[in-house]
Amino acid sequence: MFSRRQCLQLLSAALPAARAGAQTPLAFPGKRSLLVHNDYPEDLETPVEYFDTWLTPNDRFFVRQHLPRPRIDAAAWRLDVTGLASTPLKLSLDDLKKLPQYRVPATLECAGNGRSNFRPRMPGLQWSKGAIGNAEWRGPRLAGILKSAGVSNKAAYGNVDGADVGVGKTPDFIRSIPVRKLMHEATILALEMNGEPLPEIHGFPARLIVPGWDGASWVKWVTKLDLSEQPDSGFYFATAYRYPKHPVAPGVAPKPEEMDVIGGMAVKSIFAKPADQAKLKMVPHTLQGVAWGGENRVVRVEVSTDAGAKWQDARLSTQDFPFAWRLWSFNWTPAQPGYHLLMSRATDSAGRIQPIEALWNPSGYLWNSIDRIAVVVEA
């Protein structure tokens, strides 16, 4: 049986396809059912119920595309390392495979995850909680590639471009990563995701993995890394993905010079199960979810089952890495029937604690308010 909500979702999924004369339902390569924000280019959100495993399966992993997915000929593909380097490189996929390969478990989160919660609203994908996932990425270290290229001491940024190109006059998607972050031992060029070749929709053949940083830094389909004293001056680095240097009141737009690059992500936890608005019996339940802290480890998750009056420690999963989320769980037996507001808050190794309310900012980045769901316990 479908619920009314599911019926509406199915109808809304089917209608536009039917209107367009399409015979097949909306589906995306290599993906099981996801929430569709946009179909071209693809912007797909993972429903929170799939955050019950430490590694998010590739076929449930969220997708954020700024520009249409490029077609890549793996044999012809090359990575150009140019700029402030004594030995510019042109590397093939085979060249990259021959380098030492490193496994890095890391959580990838879109900077705008949770944007739909901000008021006043702002343009951008209206993500709920699911523009995030955790995967094991595998590939060569950027540090090794930069050393082979003979990176100059003057190089401050790697300006990274992918094979995707803008439609019309849409700017190219280029991101500037500080060389000190590129040289970090966990920064790799991923050729694999969760033990499989990197799926095309996630950046085949090579994707930059910038652990702890916003998803925009994790450039897909990487074709060029230009070492420079200056960051890129294009829209996607100089204007987009910027956050106020100092807090601003909701609705206030700071001047460009009052904005800064996002870089490391916030500390945050969310519920995976039970579902928001679930109906539960008066029996023991396991509340569960995930927690992460950008470049820091998660050291604590607390849960409140009484709307934030009292907090108790949740259990954390044994995986304890920087850059990768941890699963948390909490046993709860409702003491009484009725409506219950459940909350979770994380603390990371830098001492950052998930706030009651995330700071409003013009583009709606870094939503990390204490997570909350409501459940109704039936007698």
Binding site: S12, A14, K31, H37, T170
Partner: protein, 100 residues
């Protein structure tokens, strides 16, 4: 009462664009916006009119050809204003190759 009726008569055009204008805006969206991206990314937004204006400015800078700007704006404000709740998102189907 008479004054109220008079006010409503005068205010009506300001409160809501006429259906023909909105339809003209819808046609413009279907013809122009879709050349670069799917329409869903528009339809999932809920924005005040000023924000829609800035979005149109950005799209024109990025190469969109908008010949019916006012109609498009009326259509967006009437259907996707910030006074409306967010839509329930559709779920995609499993791709044939996924999860196998």
């Amino acid at each position: 009462m008479k004054r109220l009726a008079c006010f409503l008569f005068l205010a009506a055009p300001m409160l809501a664009a006429d259906a023909a204008t909105i339809e003209k805006g819808r046609a413009q969206e279907k013809r122009q916006c879709i050349q670069c991206h799917g329409l869903r990314i528009i339809h999932v937004q809920r924005l005040p009119r000023g924000a829609w204006e800035r979005e149109l400015d950005k799209m024109v800078r990025w190469g969109a050809v908008i010949t019916e700007r006012e109609a498009l704006l009326e259509y967006l404000a009437a259907n996707y204003g910030d006074d409306k709740p967010l839509p329930v998102l559709p779920r995609s189907a499993d791709a044939p190759s996924a999860g196998k």
